[in-house]
Symmetry: C2
Subunit: 235 residues, 2 copies
């Protein structure tokens, strides 16, 4: 493992262990054991994290998670996760309204994004995710019909789609997403009484399995005033 | 160089060379020469890029940039670049209105974000970036006063701040950013006649030099209807 990938691993560890600003990092020795690398590699990775402002070193006291690091780990945009999963991690009690589920034929744009023939059967799913009873994420999903076999009526569509796909051997491991700021389309806002909630962060995402198969097109409208994303950027 | 970092390097190469969907990638041999790695490492990296849907392999013909890859390289959110630089890369003719430049004292939040004492002298800069004469990005920057020495009046503030910082040995190499969807604050919209332009993508960013020094706090409002960001996400 190189210092570069170790740095990512340590950043991920901060996120996974729920460390907050001011929390002490494990010692060099513990990190070396945990990631099975030399202490010199750990030191190099920690040095880089310091330079990026994610770790504060205090002489004689150890290394601590910085305030900047806490900003990043809250909702990293480079991490793929289902909406319910993400909201749960942020501490919300999640509930779901399923507005519609139907079989449709892939239009030109959907066919192209999913790399399938025009007219390929898809499942179209329209849902609203609430966190602590507040509407937070409005989702329109299109997934390959054969990715979730069986009659549409026999499935509980209020649960995680990512989870259902994984249970059918089609775990989403990567995605390509586009992020923009939009108003909720008036037709959707009126129909579901979601007017006056301000701008939404629209994430349009093509989701791929480990073998590169494109299984899901997700359009998620995240309520702007409530939900942001964090990212580390490099030149 | 590992297959993982090589994959990033190839993705960056696609962006830097301006390759579009359907364009052929350099051969394994050329990539191995360019990055000074073994062909087996190149093959592994290309395989991963295929699995992520960024590269299409066509039997007997070579490897090509996929439509998904083109989506990503257009405006990758994980890449730090100045606003003028980004707009220029997107093909816009960039012009700048400087609304104000002044010396201010760091307030509590600014001091914390920049890791300086309360009251530390900062330069506050308010500007609007136009692309092809359309207002695209409204920016409020706060930077360390001593990062750009000399009288405020003796500098052309319409040019790149990132460039000016680099010229003073304070090149920004990384940042930590938060992205949200907002309305432009009414006070700003009214004062600069930027009303009715729809939602804006707000990027709030702490920018660091190579040595980890925090030199700049940038608040950039990107016009939502015109500018989006792209990102690859991984589980």
């Amino acid at each position: 493992m190189t210092a570069l990938s170790l740095r990512e691993a340590i950043a991920r560890l901060i996120a996974d262990d729920g460390l907050g600003p001011g929390d002490r990092l494990p010692t060099e020795t513990r990190l070396a054991e945990r990631f099975e690398v030399a202490r010199s590699t750990v030191r190099e990775a920690l040095k880089r994290l310091e330079e990026e402002g994610l770790v504060d070193a205090v002489q004689g006291k150890g290394r601590f998670v910085s305030a900047l690091a806490a900003d990043i780990v809250e909702r990293p945009i480079t991490r793929y996760e289902g909406v319910a999963e993400m909201l749960t991690r942020l501490g919300y009690r999640v509930t779901t309204s399923v507005f519609s589920v139907a079989e449709v034929a892939a239009d030109q744009q959907q066919a192209q994004s999913l790399a399938v023939e025009l007219g390929t059967p898809l499942i179209r799913l329209e849902r609203l995710r609430y966190g602590d009873d507040q509407p937070l994420v409005f989702s329109i999903d299109h997934l390959l019909r054969d990715a979730l076999p069986g009659p549409l009526g026999h499935r509980d569509w209020s649960t995680s789609l990512t989870g259902a796909l994984a249970a059918h051997g089609r775990e989403v491991t990567t995605s390509v997403a586009r992020i923009s700021a939009v108003e909720l389309p008036a037709e959707i806002a009126d129909r579901h009484r979601l007017t006056g909630l301000g701008p939404w962060l629209l994430v349009t995402e093509t989701c791929l399995t480990r073998t590169g198969r494109r299984v899901l097109l997700a359009e998620d409208y995240h309520r702007g005033a409530m939900l942001g994303f964090n990212v580390r950027r490099r030149r």
